[in-house]
Amino acid sequence: MGILFHLFASFFLIGISAYGGGIATIALIQHEIVAVHGWLTATQMRDVITIAQMTPGPIAINSATLTGYKICGIGGALLASLAVITPGILLLIGYTLTVSHLRSKDTLNRVKLALHPGILALIIYSVYTFGSVSIDGLTTGGIAAAAFLAMLFTGRRVHPVLIIIAAGLLGIAIFH
């Protein structure tokens, strides 16, 4: 029971700061799961996040499902997934009950404006936390730089998942 409670609490916390398309949660997921609880090793966490990026659905929920499954089986998977979406849903319930229509743009824009620096900082921090387990030399550094440039120059024409798969195959060619 104890571990299920901690699992729920961890992913609830992750859900609170899940902003900006999930990328901003990466540092937080690593921190909670690897540093605070030690449920997964840093490399396992890298694998989980990579799988979460390559499969359909939001990265925060995918990581929650897979981490929860690794720790407590199917019950853990469902609990962690539920936990990560709960904060957003609770806040949305509060919002729809108090604001009668979707258009209180002023308040919404202010909240957005206030949170932007924190989210930006978290994404930058995620480059560091995820990079420190994924980049161990010139080769992996080069792949990261190439992926960055590929995103920059192809915009949305090449799907991000294709870039990840290409880099994975390159990884097999180089490291295997």
């Binding site: 799988i51 897979l66 743009k105 949170l115 994404i123 921090y125 960055f148 920059l152 097999i172």
Partner: protein
């Protein structure tokens, strides 16, 4: 409740239909919330006319203000508009079910192979690429942020706190919200 202005056609949409449409959106969304927007727009606006362009913009903009997956938040708002609380449940279970099934299958049958050398080699390359993609997200998100002395200053201050004091990353959101509410005056919004 905001669903009072839901339209007649919507009120008659079955919960199964809502579940199915959001199931498809969940299934075809690879790579995070912003990848989902074209799919969401196609299913709800282009194909089914469940909402108009302006409502779509509203849903997306509200979804991004609240924490959590944009997909789930959008499902909440649209489900609520169409069928109230049962609609919310249908839409949310619809959108998260495909990924939960896929991830569970991976967890049950494939995750044990991650220790194989060839799979680790794949993850090494793929993980490096994801680092590059996160860096790209910094660029995209930074471009979407109004860069002025206050936003850059606050971002840098939070980074210092994260890197130097190794605090819990959630502190970044808390500080940003608390400080941001004070330093960004209303007329800036």
């Amino acid at each position: 409740m905001p669903d009072t202005n839901a339209r007649r056609a919507e009120a008659t949409t079955s919960l199964g239909k809502i579940f199915w449409v959001f199931f498809k959106i969940g299934l075809f969304t690879f790579g995070g919330g912003f990848a989902m927007l074209p799919v969401l727009s196609y299913e709800l606006y282009t194909k089914r006319k469940w909402i108009d362009k302006e409502e779509l913009t509203d849903i997306v903009s509200v979804s991004t203000v609240f924490p959590g997956a944009i997909a789930v938040n959008s499902a909440f708002l649209q489900g609520l508009r169409m069928r109230g609380i049962p609609g919310v449940i249908a839409a949310i279970t619809g959108i998260i079910t495909p990924s939960i099934i896929i991830i569970l299958l991976i967890g049950m049958f494939l995750f044990r192979f991650t220790s194989l050398h060839i799979v680790q080699a794949f993850f090494k390359g793929a993980g490096a690429a994801i680092t590059g993609q996160i860096a790209y997200a910094v660029y995209v998100f930074g471009r979407g942020t109004t860069l002025n002395l206050r936003t850059v200053g606050l971002t840098l201050a939070i980074l210092v706190i994260l890197f130097v004091f190794k605090v819990h990353p959630i502190v970044a959101i808390l500080i940003s919200g608390a400080v941001g509410a004070f330093i960004f005056p209303k007329e800036n919004a």
